[in-house]
Each structure stands twice: as C-alpha cells, then as structure tokens.
C-alpha cells in the first residue's frame, strides 16, 4: 500500500536551519506536507514563509518548542495531532529527529539533564514514542534519526552517561550520536519484523552548517569553520535523509545505519544489543515513560 508523496505528512525537528531546513525544503518541493519544529518562533515563521514560496501546494506548519525541555516535547504530541485533524489527515508517514546541538561547557537543562543528552538523544527518544501511534496509523512510516560519524569514537560510560563528572563537549556529542543508533536498533527490535514503522539512523557526512558556532567559544567556532569547509551542502545531506524517508524498497533491509543512501557499518559499540536495551530502559525512566512497555504486537 503506497501513499503518494503528495499525501504524505512528515515531522522534521530542528527545521529552522542547516540539514533540517534542507530536508523540509526537499520534502515540500516534492509535494509532501511538513510539520517543522524549531525553538525560535521568529525563525519558525521565516522558515515557513520560505517553504511556502518554494511550493504553495502542500500543507506546511511550524510548531515552536524547546526540545531541551521534556514538558515541551511531550506537549508536541497533541499539537501534531491537532494539525493532522485540521488537515484532515489520519496519520504521520515520517519523523525526522534532526534537531541537534553542541555545547562546549556542561549545561544542565530545566529538567536537570546535560543539554546535548537532552536535545540530541532524549528529545528524539521521547518525541518518537509520543508520535508512535500516529506513525503506526500510516500504511508505512519511517523514523529517521540524524546521527553522525562522531559516534565512531564514542563509548558510553554507564556510571556517568551524561559525562556530568568528566564533561568534554565533543565526547558528550559523540555519545549522543551513538545513543541515536542504539535507540534506532532497539526501536526496530521492539517493533518487530512485521512492523509498518521502520527506524533508520542517518550519517549525513560532514555538512557546511552553523552547528559548531552557536554559543561556542571563539576558538571552537573558528575550528568548526575550518573543518566544515571540506563538507557538503545541507541540500546534499538532505537527499540521503529523504531517501530513507520515502524509498519503499529498503523497508526490509536490516541495516540501521545509513550514509548517503547506502547502508554502512556502525561502530562496534553501536551494534551491541545489550547496550541498546539498557539505554532504552534508562531513557524511558528519564522521560517518565513506562519502563517495560513493549510495542511489539507479538
């Protein structure tokens, strides 16, 4: 059962700049409806206007939420459902967990969680679980979480998952990107092989965005500027993500980690199922979700 692209609805987080905005643009160009999520009402309005200029046909709306605050992530569930209702749509066909942040200094969120852990991992985990019933209502749905090649050097320290006691910004970032893959694997395992919802973790490659320059010390911004100059454009990175969102033929490909539309071996750490199950439990607890809940119908 295929839904035509013009009948698909996709939620994209962090859709106000960088890769997320490029994904939203590509979707809208192809006629899909988009619900973008951003933290700044101003940037949300600007992005929405831009998308409308690209293609006035599909439905486009933005919701403002600070994804570092769990209460705001939870609140998105009802807001997305309301939008679907007004658009007369029954289901969500895709979710792109793209919002991500880098923090040089340790920052604790309102909930008392390390900022990168909260935005890059927990928000993706909680939003996916919150929107899951809407995704399951579609004939086929995809959850694409934007991970990164930085996960290759990462290793979770179970005694200090958020690196609160030994904080290092880059290491903490890599850990969240490893968590993205473990989450994706465990999600697929829990959903089971028959599931219509499939999760993928995407490595966008090195992309020329401003991620390393937001609220970071001068020297760090400078290093990022230098590094990203060898990168690809956000539009190129978006192509690989849209492929994972829409390509019907990959539904049964077991690989969880993809780069530029090709399956890729994730790190050894990322392939450990025990770690994936353990992380899921801890994340459920941190988000106040029932710890033992299992979505498999079997």
């Amino acid at each position: 059962m295929e839904t035509r692209i013009s009948e698909k609805t996709v939620v994209v987080t962090g859709a106000t700049s960088g890769i997320g905005l490029a994904v939203a643009e590509e979707l809208v160009r192809s006629g899909a409806s988009v619900i973008g999520i951003g933290r700044s009402a101003e940037r949300c309005a600007a992005a929405q206007a831009g998308l409308h200029r690209l293609n006035p046909e599909p439905w486009v709306a933005y919701l403002t939420a600070d994804l570092s605050v769990q209460g705001e992530v939870r609140g998105l569930g009802n807001q997305v459902r309301d939008l679907l209702d007004t658009w007369n749509r029954q289901a969500l066909d895709g979710l792109v967990n793209n919002a991500g942040t880098f923090s040089y200094w340790l920052t604790l969120t309102a909930d008392g969680v390390e900022l990168q852990w909260a935005v890059n991992h927990l928000a993706a985990f909680l939003l996916t679980n919150t929107l899951l019933p809407m995704l399951q209502a579609a004939p086929l749905a995809r959850v694409v979480t934007v991970s990164s090649g930085s996960h290759y050097n990462a290793r979770l320290d179970w005694n200090d998952l958020q690196l609160r006691r030994h904080y290092n910004g880059l290491q903490a970032y890599g850990n969240t990107k490893l968590a993205n893959i473990l989450f994706t694997r465990e999600m697929n395992r829990r959903l089971g092989e028959e599931s219509t919802v499939r999760a993928f973790a995407a490595d966008p490659g090195l992309v020329k965005t401003d991620i390393g320059m937001k609220g970071t010390p001068g020297i760090v911004s400078w290093v990022w500027k230098l590094r990203r100059s060898g990168g690809i454009t956000a539009a190129e990175a978006a192509r690989g993500i849209c492929y994972l969102l829409t390509e019907p033929s990959i539904q049964d490909v077991p690989s969880s980690y993809w780069k530029h539309g090709q399956p890729k071996a994730a790190s050894h750490e990322a392939q450990n199922c025990l770690n994936a199950a353990r992380l899921w439990k801890i994340s459920s607890q941190m988000c106040g979700l029932p710890v033992e809940e299992c979505y498999a119908n079997a």
Binding site: W105, L106, D111, G112, R164, R165, H166, Y167, P217, M286
Partner: protein
C-alpha cells in the same frame, strides 16, 4: 560514619539552597544521582518543580521543594516552620545561594549592596544555625558552604561580594572547629568562575586563555566537593591553576594583589567593550 543504610532508615535529606541556579542545580543532580533524598529551595517555584520532577523520574529519589526569597527573614522563618512541622531531618546542608551585581561599589544601588550582604552572609548563617537543630541524630552532619576564589583576595569591582565570601571562608573554617564535637563537619568550596550563565561565559571568554584554564564545569565541581565533604575535608579549590593562584595570593601582600586584580579587570573590560563595537568596514 554516614552509611546508606542509616540514611535510608532515618530518610534524612540534603538541603540545597540556590538549587535552580547553575552550581546549585549541579549539586542537586549529583546528589540525586547518588540516591540521596533532597529538599530544594530557590526563588523560582516552577523552575524548582520542573527540576524536582526530573530528578524524581531519573533517579527515583524523594524531593521536596520550597520556593522563597531567602533575603526575607519572614520567608526564612516560614521555611524553618515547614521543616519543623513535617519533622524533616537532614544529614547534609549545601549553602549555594549567593549573589553579586556587576559594577564598582559606588555604581551599585544601596539596595543591591544590602541584598548581597543579606543573601551571602545573613541568610547563610541563619540557615546553618537552624539546620544544625534539624540535623539527623544518627548521621554525621555535613555542611558545605560555597565561597569563591574571590574570598582569598581583596577584589576591586567585586569589593562587597569578595569580602562577603571572605566572611564565609573564615566563618566556615572556625565553625568547623566548633561543631566537631557535635559530629558535624564543614567544607568550604572556593571555585573560580564557572560557565553557568551567558554572562559568566562572556566574562570567561573576555579573560582569554586565562579564563579557559581557570574555569571548571559545575558537574565536576559538585562531584569533587561532595566527595571532599564526605571525607570531612575543610576546603575545596577546584583546579590546580586555581590552587596555584590561591597559593600565590597568600604569599603576595594583599594590597598588591588588589592592584593586580584591578588592572587585569580593566584590560578585560576594555577587550570586552572593543569586541562589542561593530567591526570597521
């Protein structure tokens, strides 16, 4: 000795003031992650409750919150009354609440100066006095006072603040000897700048590399300080650069240190105002 068993038997708690600020939040999270029940106080009620809910979820600990303005005597009395009525007991007290206002003494309002004294000194002493009464009889009572590296030097532009922290430093070291026989310990924390607010981060940036090597993340500071308190140590100065600075400060005469700090501040101030000017085309 404090063991997890006798703690849970008494269900005694850790009281943290200034708990929704940068360092206070780090203490709250670190204590919760160690499984300790908490009593958190700060000004902002919704922020306290959001934090408490997060800690309950993540660490399965019991958290009580009480929002109040600690510079207000009546508010403090109400806080103590709530503790008394509920027969709460404590094995640890972390006095984090403290304040400073930017700018030289004469540019601050008299209200601001009173607030510094009331919060940093008066309320810290008042709470410490009250909490000694509410201490858990079956545990060693651990007091942690947050002073500052500024406590070691006369600090131009932070004259009142630095002196208030000096007060806490001397008070803590003296109180430590007084309460030893009661089975209590006092640990005074003297941190350098910590990256807790955009303003602090800007100040750290303005100091250049010196800012970077003297700065330490709040999570690490909270962890190290709690370990030091459990070991009954008198003082914590996080970071070897900061310990060296403190040592130098103690050798060099106070008025020289004051002159040096003053001139460093001036140059940092100039650099900051230069940064803020728009670049020339």
């Amino acid at each position: 000795m404090q063991t997890p068993e006798n703690r849970s038997k008494c269900r005694s708690r850790v009281l943290i003031s200034g708990a929704s600020g940068g360092l206070g939040k780090a203490f709250a999270v670190e204590c919760a992650s160690r499984g300790w029940d908490l009593f958190l106080t700060d000004m902002n009620a919704p922020a306290l409750e959001t934090l408490a809910a997060g800690l309950r979820r993540s660490y399965n600990v019991d958290v009580i919150t009480h929002a109040c303005d600690l510079t207000d005597l009546d508010a403090r009395l109400a806080l103590f009354e709530r503790i008394r009525v509920n027969s709460l007991r404590f094995w640890c007290l972390v006095n984090v609440a403290g304040i400073d206002y930017e700018g030289p003494f004469f540019e601050q309002s008299s209200q601001q100066i009173r607030t510094i004294l009331r919060l940093n000194i008066e309320s810290t002493l008042d709470i410490t006095h009250a909490m000694l009464k509410f201490r858990d009889p079956c545990a060693t009572f651990r007091i942690i006072n947050v002073a500052s590296l500024a406590a070691f030097y006369p600090m131009p532009v932070k004259a009142t603040y630095a002196a208030s922290k000096r007060f806490l430093l001397d008070f803590s070291l003296a109180l430590r000897e007084e309460v030893r026989s009661m089975g209590a310990t006092v640990t005074v924390l003297c941190p350098a700048g910590m990256p807790t607010t955009p303003l602090c981060i800007e100040a750290i940036e303005a100091q250049g590399w010196m800012g970077h090597i003297t700065t330490m993340d709040t999570g690490r500071v909270a962890d190290k300080t709690l370990n030091a308190a459990l070991a009954g140590r008198p003082m914590v100065i996080p970071g070897w650069v900061n310990r060296t600075l403190q040592l130098l400060g103690s050798i060099v005469p106070a008025r020289l240190v004051a002159a040096l700090v003053g001139s460093r501040w001036k140059s940092a101030q100039q650099k900051r105002s230069l940064d803020k000017q728009p670049a020339m085309p």
